[in-house]
């Protein structure tokens, strides 16, 4: 499990650094000059702020359970499934700088298995509802235009609670929940389709640490810039 996590983190960090390298070599456009001045707060007194926006993102896709499975040895003829169809909902505050903050929830299948015990059918299904505080940053901010790839790409990371759900079907049905601390990391590409709407593709890693459930998800998302002030 750990090598796979490291691999994911490694590529995300590489991606960020290469993008920032490219950014650093560009001359800031005139459109970004004011924002640049605004961040240089030590040398400039600027009482004006940029627009704040509330952004709602909803999406769904495919997930793959990416850590070790635990199937009891008492189960005969076990059949496993690591795939699921996750959905997510995120509400973010976009202030007038690069860093964004918000809340994410959703639902994702972790894994399931079925088999037999002394001739009786059994089925175990594991899923999770994340409730996370997330931070997000576009790779490009001070430079480039809305069309530049770096400005459309963002990395997101968060931490919080996973409500882990299990359903057991064997000599009756038992549905139970356990909370677990955990984290997530994601990379996304957002494409504008209107003044207030975007679509986005996001690759995401969910990790509910205490229950050792982790899933890699790929989602298609609708991004709605709901409210600005």
């Amino acid at each position: 499990m750990l090598p796979l996590r490291l691999q994911t983190i490694r590529w995300v960090v590489l991606f960020l650094l290469l993008s920032l390298t490219a950014q650093a070599q560009r001359i800031p456009s005139a459109r970004r000059q004011r924002r640049l001045q605004a961040i240089e707060a030590d040398s400039l007194i600027d009482t004006r702020r940029g627009p704040y926006t509330l952004v709602v993102t909803a999406g769904g896709g495919l997930s793959y359970y990416s850590t070790h499975l635990g199937v009891p040895q008492t189960i005969d003829e076990p059949h496993l499934s690591r795939f699921g169809t996750p959905s997510s909902l995120r509400v973010m505050w976009y202030p007038d700088h690069r860093l964004r903050v918000g809340l994410e929830t959703g639902w994702t299948t972790m894994y399931s298995y079925r088999g037999k015990v002394a001739g009786d059918n059994t089925h175990v299904y594991v899923s999770a509802v994340p409730i996370l505080v997330v931070f997000s940053m576009p790779l490009g901010w001070l430079t480039g235009t809305d069309r530049s790839v770096a400005r459309r790409m963002a990395i997101t990371a968060g931490t919080g609670l996973y409500v882990n759900h299990s359903r057991l079907d064997y000599q009756g049905t038992v549905m139970s929940n356990t909370n677990s601390l955990g984290w997530m990391a994601a990379a996304s590409y957002t494409y504008p389709i209107g003044r207030r709407f975007r679509i986005a593709g996001e690759l995401k890693w969910f990790d509910a640490v205490a229950v050792e459930n982790a899933a890699f998800t790929a989602e298609l998302q609708l991004v709605w810039r709901a409210f600005s002030w």
């Binding site: 605004a38 030590d42 860093l99």
Partner: protein, 252 residues
């Protein structure tokens, strides 16, 4: 060393590529520095001294996740209020102060940093902090206990201005115990030994958040066999346990 061995013995081409690409990426990122002088921005973790005679302050929160070896099935992220204050003494030397509290237990630290700028984007600092912590619990039928201790943290920070608005800091600290005393009722235990207790790594981003308000957002992973916030559990393990922390602070 284990990591280096792992790097060269990995059987997976993809994994090898990942390592190599990351190193190349980091290198390239450094080469792409501009020659312009970049403005001084508010920061608490970035290894750049405040202007001589000026203060830097921050207030925030640190969430520490408890290790299962100590809190067992109750795995929570415990918040602590976190104040930082720094004062520039010269262009490359400044003092630091930090106060963390959870009301029933608190930690106060003092230290200094000596800064070495390498380029207009790359900075390093070496520092030394000494902290004192104190906790007391009086709960009917549960606790009549208090404890305090002193720890010290020699540290090195590397800071890199990724862009004009975004600064990355990596800090590594040794955690050294100097003194520990705990008391239950009228019985006390005292340890007066200097022992390396563990090590901690911090990854911090500092940047403007909204309007002119700057923030520090990052994570710190401590591998240590004692953590002052969990003194009341009277940890007996001689093992380095993992204490991940989420750090968020508003720079005032």
């Amino acid at each position: 060393m284990a990591t280096i061995q792992h790097l060269y013995t990995s059987r997976t081409l993809f994994r090898r590529l990942g390592w190599s690409a990351l190193l190349i990426g980091l290198t390239q990122s450094g080469i792409a520095q501009s020659r312009a002088v970049w403005p001084l921005q508010p920061g608490i973790y970035f290894p750049q001294a405040p202007l001589p005679g000026t203060w830097r302050k921050s207030v925030g929160v640190v969430f520490t996740t408890t290790p299962p070896e100590l809190t067992e099935e109750i795995r929570v992220s415990v918040p602590a209020i976190d104040f930082n204050v720094q004062r520039g003494l010269s262009k490359n030397f400044f003092l630091t102060g930090r106060f963390q509290t959870q009301f029933v237990q608190s930690n106060i630290g003092l230290g200094f940093r000596w800064v070495k700028p390498f380029t207009n984007r790359l900075f390093m600092s070496a520092g030394y902090d000494i902290t004192g912590w104190l906790g007391a619990l009086q709960i009917k039928d549960v606790f009549s206990s208090q404890a305090f201790g002193v720890e010290t943290f020699p540290n090195v920070s590397v800071g890199y201005k990724l862009t004009r608005d975004l600064r990355f800091t990596f800090r590594t600290e040794a955690i050294i115990d100097l003194y520990y005393r705990s008391q239950v009722g009228n019985l006390a235990v005292e340890y007066n030994r200097r022992a390396v207790n563990g090590v901690a790594f911090t990854f911090m981003l500092e940047q403007p958040f909204y309007h002119q308000r700057h923030v520090s957002v990052g994570i710190r992973g401590a591998y240590s066999n004692f953590n002052w916030q969990l003194w009341s559990l009277f940890d007996t393990f001689d093992r380095n346990l993992f204490y991940p922390q989420l750090i968020f602070g508003f720079i005032l």
